[in-house]
Structures are given as structure tokens and as C-alpha cells.
Symmetry: C2
Subunit: 318 residues, 2 copies
Amino acid sequence: MFKTKICEILNIQYPIILGGMLWIGKSDLVAAVSEAGGLGLMGAGGMTIEEIESECAHVTEKTKKPFGVNIPLVRPDSDEMINAAIKKGASVIATSSGSPKKFTQMIQDQGCRVIHVVANVTFAKKSEDAGVDAVAAEGFEAGGHNGHDEITTMALIPQVASAVDIPVIAAGGIADGRGLVAALALGAKGVQMGTRFLATHEAAAHQNYKDAIVKMTDVGTSITGRTTIGPTRAINNQLTEMIINAEKEGAKPEELFEMIGEGRSAMACIEGNCEEGSLYCGQIGGAVKEIKSARQIVDDMISEAKTIVESLNPLISH
Amino acid sequence: MFKTKICEILNIQYPIILGGMLWIGKSDLVAAVSEAGGLGLMGAGGMTIEEIESECAHVTEKTKKPFGVNIPLVRPDSDEMINAAIKKGASVIATSSGSPKKFTQMIQDQGCRVIHVVANVTFAKKSEDAGVDAVAAEGFEAGGHNGHDEITTMALIPQVASAVDIPVIAAGGIADGRGLVAALALGAKGVQMGTRFLATHEAAAHQNYKDAIVKMTDVGTSITGRTTIGPTRAINNQLTEMIINAEKEGAKPEELFEMIGEGRSAMACIEGNCEEGSLYCGQIGGAVKEIKSARQIVDDMISEAKTIVESLNPLISH
């Protein structure tokens, strides 16, 4: 069920992809999503080459199904990261924060697929021209690093889907079967989710962070760094308040970097400090009401999506 | 086809509603949307009581079908506006920018329906408690005045739909059959569109304004006034650039008001000045590729939506 073009290309059962999450998307979660029939994507941004190798090896111990690795191209050793991931069994490389031209051919030459993350139509077209297999189009509602264009998933997906011939994966604002069917209706061939998979037993995040998502409401996140150090969306806490206030008072980027310092993500993910740490999270976190296993999420989504499609059918009978 | 709960409540054929637009949503457009089977909502914000009466009278000359009027509750004469609209044949009052408690009972006592515009879950619940017949939940991608919470349609609709029992109308980011099916999948019972209906033959906007929508791309709008005089989304031009630059330099609200002055909407709508006027428009304007009649838009949407639902069906067969 719900076998789309993206399932064929990535050799997966359901068009549900785990978004690459720094610190959080490690082998347990990646393997669990893939084993459930989706595609696990490892968040390799903060990993050394050795860690990528060992984490990928862990995945292949847990599942024989395809998985991928997310590589932020701002890392100067991106090529080594990609090679390490492929050597250790990854069959999909999701690239972000850089030019899709750089490594697409090299990855495909090794028999792997490339997904490039985009936030507007122009970059989607550039990615298609660069030969990537699919684009993940990410809306303003998504957690973590965010585009400057602020185009939302609802506005972005139909415009990207009309502009390119390669499959589009919708990212941002999706956490259940309702989001899956909506994304398919808008022209996407699959969905990518971060926040929903963060609130799982398998995510490598501190329990406090997962609990914070379950507790949050629709107005629970904010963008910081919009006018200065680059927009990111996170759960409202002392840290986001401090940054927003500093920005209002006209703080310069270097002052903000000084104030924030290093390790705010680790503070949230590893130490569970939900006030001083950075809790990247999307707006759809308000719809996440319980921590589940990755398999339960995938199974529930497919079952909900089936019910929704069935409920749409009577609407088209005369 | 596509007869939902909202169609029953509003006594309309299709769950497609014209969003109330200042200057633009006058009798021609209102009548055309209603006559096409949707619900025309007049944008009465800038009208005198006499104008509301004469415009409503014009609508009833052109169609016998139900129509409504949008009343921004910030107007001190809201009650008179409502009474004038109802006296002249409106059967739906859409209230915004104020408490839904204020006039709901009074409107319903006259046999009319009330839709209240909300931008978060809390206000949706308050509106339900106030007894309104439906809420229009409007996302961050919408044109014109925008909520401070910045919740997008994709994230907002499922959260509002889970929180209230009354029907939810999705607004923001919708311009075609893809958006209609997506909204229904997310839990809405209908859609409300401004931008798409602005680019119609019947809209009371200058041709230059309509052409600007057809020409714009996905990155063609910005929010101004976010930190100062209240967020509004409009097409990027000299005016938005001037405001954004002034805000970056720390302009105070009174300085911005002074700089912007009066009549920027009229400058765009009536004079067709697309650089100095305020061209309210949603992000989905990038998907609007031609000016159509309101009837063509409704017919095309229903036909596209039917095709989409049919295309989803094979996905749920084993």
C-alpha cells in the first residue's frame, strides 16, 4: 500500500522517510525506520568519519533493508563522509546545505541514490539539472535549520511538483496519516519527518527532550536567528527567549554566537537540559501526543492514510 | 461532488469559500463565486454602511444563492455593518480580528451562520465555545494580515481539527484542486481562498495587481511589520523593501506609520501602482499562472480534486 515512485527509486515499502537529525538520528532509529518499511536517514552532521562507519555498521547488523545518510555539504570532509557511508552499506545519500552538483555523479556511480534538500523552486530545478534522484522540499514549519524564503509546505510542494519531473518528498508539518495523504494530494511522492520520529523510543535524544515535544502545543516553537545567524526553529525556552530578546535589541551575529556558545544541541539531546539547550522541533510537534516506536508510527500512518483515502471516495460519487 | 458538512451548514454546492478581501471582494466577485456553487464573502472592511447595503443589493441582483460578508471586528460600527449585511440578504457573517463572543448569538438569532477566523488552536476552541458555526483556520502563508504565531496551514489544520468538533475551513496556501484535497485530508471540511480569486476577471482590483500575481514566483512575497505594526504578507516591491529596511534599522511603529501613510492598499487596488502600493498576496500566488473567471476556478478545482482522489485510490489496494 502507498507504493509510489519514490518507493521504487529507494527500494522501500512505504513512502516515509526519517529526516536526518544531528545527534538524534543514529543507528537505532535509522534501523527501526528502515525495518518498518520506510527509509532511515542517519543525521551524520556531528559525526566523525569513524563514527559514521561504526554507526552504519550497527544499522546493517539490525536490518537488511535500505538506509541512507544525511550529509550537510558545509562539512569540508563531505566526500569522505559520503564514501564512508557507502562503504558501510548506505544506499541513499541525502545532501543538504550546498550545491547538489558537487557529489551527485560520484554517489550515483557507486550505485546509490541522491536526495537533495531544497526550500524553493529555483533550487529544486537546479537539483534536477544536477541529476539528483529526488528532492526533499522542506517548508517553513520544519524544525531545525530553516530556509530564508519561509515558504510553507502547503505553498511549496505544489509549486515544486509543477516545476520538476523528478519525485518530490514533502518535509515540514507532517506527523501522521493526514499529513501523508495531504502531501500526496499536493503532488509529493512521499514524506520526510523529523519531529514525529524524534518522539520515539529509538531516537538518541534525552527523555526530557522527547517529553517536551509531547507537552508542547501548536504555538510551542519559534524561529531564532532570522535576521542574524541563520534561521532555526526550536521549542520555546529560556534559550530562544534570550536570543529573540538580543535580536530585538540589535545584537550583531558575533555577539549572538558569543552569547550562545557551543554545544546547545548536545545540551538538549544528551544532557536533557530543556531550558538552556536548543530543542530543534517543527510546528507539528503540537500534534505529537505520545512517544511511540518507529514501527508503530509507520504502521499507524499507513492505516490512517488508508482510512482517509477511503473517506474521500464518497465525495466524488454523484 | 465534494459535498461536506460545511456545504450543508452554509447551504452551498462546493466547499470553496472566497476570503474577504478589502477593496477587492465586492459584489461582482462575491456573486460570481456564489453563483459558481461556492460561497462569496464580501470584504467589507473599508466600506461604509451605505456601501455595504448597496453592494449586498447588487449581489442579490446577480445571484439567488447564499453569500456572506466579512466583518473585521476592530471596526467600531461592526454591529451596524452586520445588521446592514443581513438586512440586505447575507446569510453568512465571517468575523475576524476580535472576540467571536460579541455578535455570534445576535447573528444566529437572525437565522444566519457565523464563521470566525482563527490562527491557532486556543482561538479555535474559544470560537467553538462562543457558539460559532465554523472556524476558518488561516496559516502563515496567507496574504494580508497575518497572525503572530506563524503557524502554517499544514501544521495548523490537523491540530485545530483535532481540537474542535465544529467544521474547520482551511485558509492559506490553497489555489487549486491539490490544495482542496490536501485540506480535506488534513481534517478540514472546506477551503477559503483569497489570492486565487484575486486573479479573476471579476475581482475589483486593478489589472496591474492581477498581472503581478500571475508573474510572481514562489519567493514573491514577504511579511512586513512583524516586529512593529503587525505582520502582513504582500508581494515584494519598493514598499515592502522600504518597510523591511526601516525595520532592520530599528524604526519605531509610529515612524513606520508615518512613512507608510494612508491608502497604500487603494494605491495598488485602484490605481494599479505595483511598486508603491501594498499588494496583499499569499505565497501560493506563485502557483497562479493565469487570470480566470471565478466559475472556471471553481469548476477546475472540483475537476482536479476528483482526478486526485481517483489517483489516490490505487495506492490503497493490496
